[in-house]
């Protein structure tokens, strides 16, 4: 499908999905707030791929410390219990999964969701096929990005070109 994500989905819809996901998955009273904050030095991303008439990914990005805090909240752990990398991969992945599934249901046609993935760099997407909601959770940087699958190799090269 050549229709870009910006014509299929808007920031308001992504926000309304986050408004349902945060209180139920992250915890009562928790919220993703669409007010941007400065990005951190280091970031971690969790994402799910969508395959169907539209191909792309739903990516959650935040600082590693935020990821750990999110995990603690999702798993409802209390000190002295500490969350490990496996827990973070799991909780962040599930968050991306639930966001992804709900975003996918807004898209036309039959699509399938991939298994969650996590990494220090988000996957490369198509430059002009992006819906990004820059925001915060508990005052910390967090973005939700819906991006089309990278199509042409030359698009990637342009992105890597130093300024």
């Amino acid at each position: 499908m050549s229709t870009p994500i910006s014509e299929l989905l808007d920031a308001e819809t992504v926000q309304s999905i986050a408004d349902e996901v945060w209180p139920t998955l992250v915890g009562d009273g928790e919220a993703f707030v669409p007010l941007p904050v400065a990005p951190p030095a280091e970031a971690v991303s969790a994402w799910v791929d969508i395959r169907g008439p539209w191909n792309g990914s739903v990516v959650l990005t935040c600082a590693p410390a935020t990821a750990a805090a999110l995990t603690e909240s999702v798993l409802m752990t209390r000190p002295p219990t500490v969350v490990d990398d496996e827990d973070v991969k799991d909780a962040l992945g599930e968050l991306a999964n639930v966001l992804g599934g709900n975003i996918k249901s807004v898209l036309p046609g039959e699509s399938r969701l991939g298994l969650p993935q996590i990494g220090s760099a988000p996957p490369t997407g198509s430059l002009d096929d992006v819906c990004r909601v820059a925001g915060q959770w508990r005052g910390q940087f967090l973005t939700i990005t819906v991006q089309g699958a990278a199509v042409a190799p030359h698009a990637e090269r342009i992105e890597e070109k130093p300024l």
Binding site: V21, L25, V74, E94, E110, L115, P116
Partner: protein, 131 residues
């Protein structure tokens, strides 16, 4: 009442498991459809048969839909209520799951009350559960 929670996410297994435990269920877990079938078989041998399976869709090795088909193909599991608990929520997917033999479908994100409502509807809430 006994439940088998089938989800590749440990976080989700913990969340669903804790809701079910609060509702009086004895809970066991499995990380994918294959593990779930093995758990059913092993459980059957010791007389542990779940009343309810909560099943995620997207899992490695064997996904939830495949598990539902396999479970329904086995007459020994006829009494087990199969409920999808998943973020997959296109109409066509819900139809597909029900057609494969799932009895109910709970969409993520869900609240503990929503789980409770579904179980009450299915007649699976143990008697005397406090409001």
């Amino acid at each position: 009442m006994r439940a088998l929670v089938i989800d590749d996410s440990r976080a989700m297994r913990r969340i669903v498991g804790s809701i079910l435990t609060d509702l009086g269920f004895e809970v066991r877990e499995a990380g994918d459809g294959r593990q779930a079938l093995d758990a059913l078989e092993a459980g059957g041998k010791e007389g542990w048969v779940p009343d309810l399976c909560c099943i995620d869709w997207n899992m490695p090795v064997m996904d939830g839909l495949q598990f539902v088909s396999a479970a329904r193909a086995n007459p020994g599991y006829r009494q087990v209520t199969l409920m999808m608990v998943t973020t997959e929520s296109e109409t066509g997917q819900i139809v597909k799951a029900l057609a494969a033999g799932a009895h109910e479908y709970l969409i993520k994100p869900f609240t503990a009350d929503a789980m409770r409502d579904k179980l009450a509807m299915l007649g699976l809430l143990p008697e005397g559960v406090a409001l």
